[in-house]
């Protein structure tokens, strides 16, 4: 048992005790825009953490549940978000999920975090092909963001 405890402790320390995104107790979210290198200006949450759209989703309908929602936690809010320029307030709606959480939707795209982003400025989920479709960051216009010169097609499903 000492070995097990030591291995578990080592695993925790090896990951720097980083906490995954917690969408269970949201506050009033304040999505905004931030610049991310070649992606340009994209939508982020109030703490500048990158958020994504899921291509499988339909307008105002999330198809990310179960394991998907564990890896891609929805961006939730306790009440109507506060939105400022350059985001368009008229494009912002809310989606009541099956688990009772209220997810933020922008331009018809339910928004998600990516558990693989350990730094707010990370965009590791960009063009990931997971859970049946690709994931992209999105511009304040509501269009999916792609790096300049990138015709899309996605990276591997890692």
């Amino acid at each position: 048992m000492r070995i097990f405890a030591a291995v578990a402790a080592a695993a925790v320390l090896a990951t720097g005790c980083q906490a995954a995104a917690n969408e269970l107790h949201p506050s009033q979210e304040q999505p905004k825009a931030a610049t991310r290198g070649a992606l340009g200006q994209i939508v982020v949450d109030g703490e500048s953490r990158t958020v994504y759209l899921f291509e499988k989703d339909e307008p105002d309908e999330s198809y990310c549940h179960g394991a998907c929602a564990s890896v891609w936690p929805p961006l939730t809010t306790s009440k109507a978000p506060i939105v400022g320029a350059p985001l368009d307030k008229s494009k912002l709606t809310l989606l009541k999920r099956g688990d009772g959480l209220t997810q933020i939707v922008y331009a018809g795209h339910p928004l998600y975090y990516y558990q693989g982003d350990t730094d707010p400025k990370d965009t590791n989920g960009q063009e990931k092909d997971q859970f049946g479709a690709h994931w992209y960051t999105l511009h304040p216009s509501g269009q999916k963001a792609e790096a300049e010169g990138d015709e899309g097609g996605g990276k591997d499903a890692s």
């Binding site: 097990f4 291995v7 578990a8 695993a11 995954a20 917690n22 269970l24 564990s70 693989g116 590791n124």
Partner: protein
């Protein structure tokens, strides 16, 4: 009254009970391996490897589950039976800990991680963990009874009709 010692087989060491303990050990071992395999599947196939802290812990779960399972399957019952008993105790603690971890993440957060729902992999893992706890506890009880008594022990009875000496 004359007291005589009469030999009779101990129930704990009868072939049937010994075989039951062995089966319980094997079942517990396989259940631990299934638990570890389910976590490995989630780690690779469902991308849990990207989740901070939880991802590595899923890999640890696989390593520990399979390690304990193999230790229980190893033919050490004659040379080092203590290994089986320690692995069984470890397997019970490991399984209970895994269930507790899941319960915390389902109802709240564990290292900031929240688990969504009870998909098939989670159900399989929960069943395997429950089976491991029950079977390994049965094995420990059976093996302790066997260890605490020799193969045959005297049974003291009062012989009817015997006069006290």
């Amino acid at each position: 009254m004359k007291v005589v010692a009469k030999m009779r087989p101990d129930p704990a060491t009868t072939p049937g009970r010994s075989a039951a303990a062995t089966v319980a050990r094997y079942v517990g071992a396989l259940a631990l391996i299934v638990t570890g395999a389910a976590h490995l599947q989630q780690y690779y196939a469902v991308y849990f490897r990207v989740i901070p802290t939880i991802g590595p812990l899923f890999l640890v779960n696989f390593v520990v589950g399979v390690g304990l399972g193999l230790a229980l399957l190893a033919p050490l019952q004659h040379r080092a039976p203590e290994v089986h008993r320690l692995a069984a105790i470890g397997g019970i603690v490991f399984s209970a800990g895994t269930i507790v971890g899941l319960a915390i993440s389902e109802n709240g957060t564990l290292f900031g991680f929240h688990e969504h729902g009870y998909r098939s992999a989670i159900v399989v893992s929960l069943i395997a963990e429950a089976v491991a706890i029950v079977s390994l506890a049965a094995y420990l009880i059976g093996s302790r009874q066997s260890a605490s008594t020799p193969g045959r022990r005297p049974s003291f009875r009062t012989q009817p009709g015997a006069s006290p000496s």
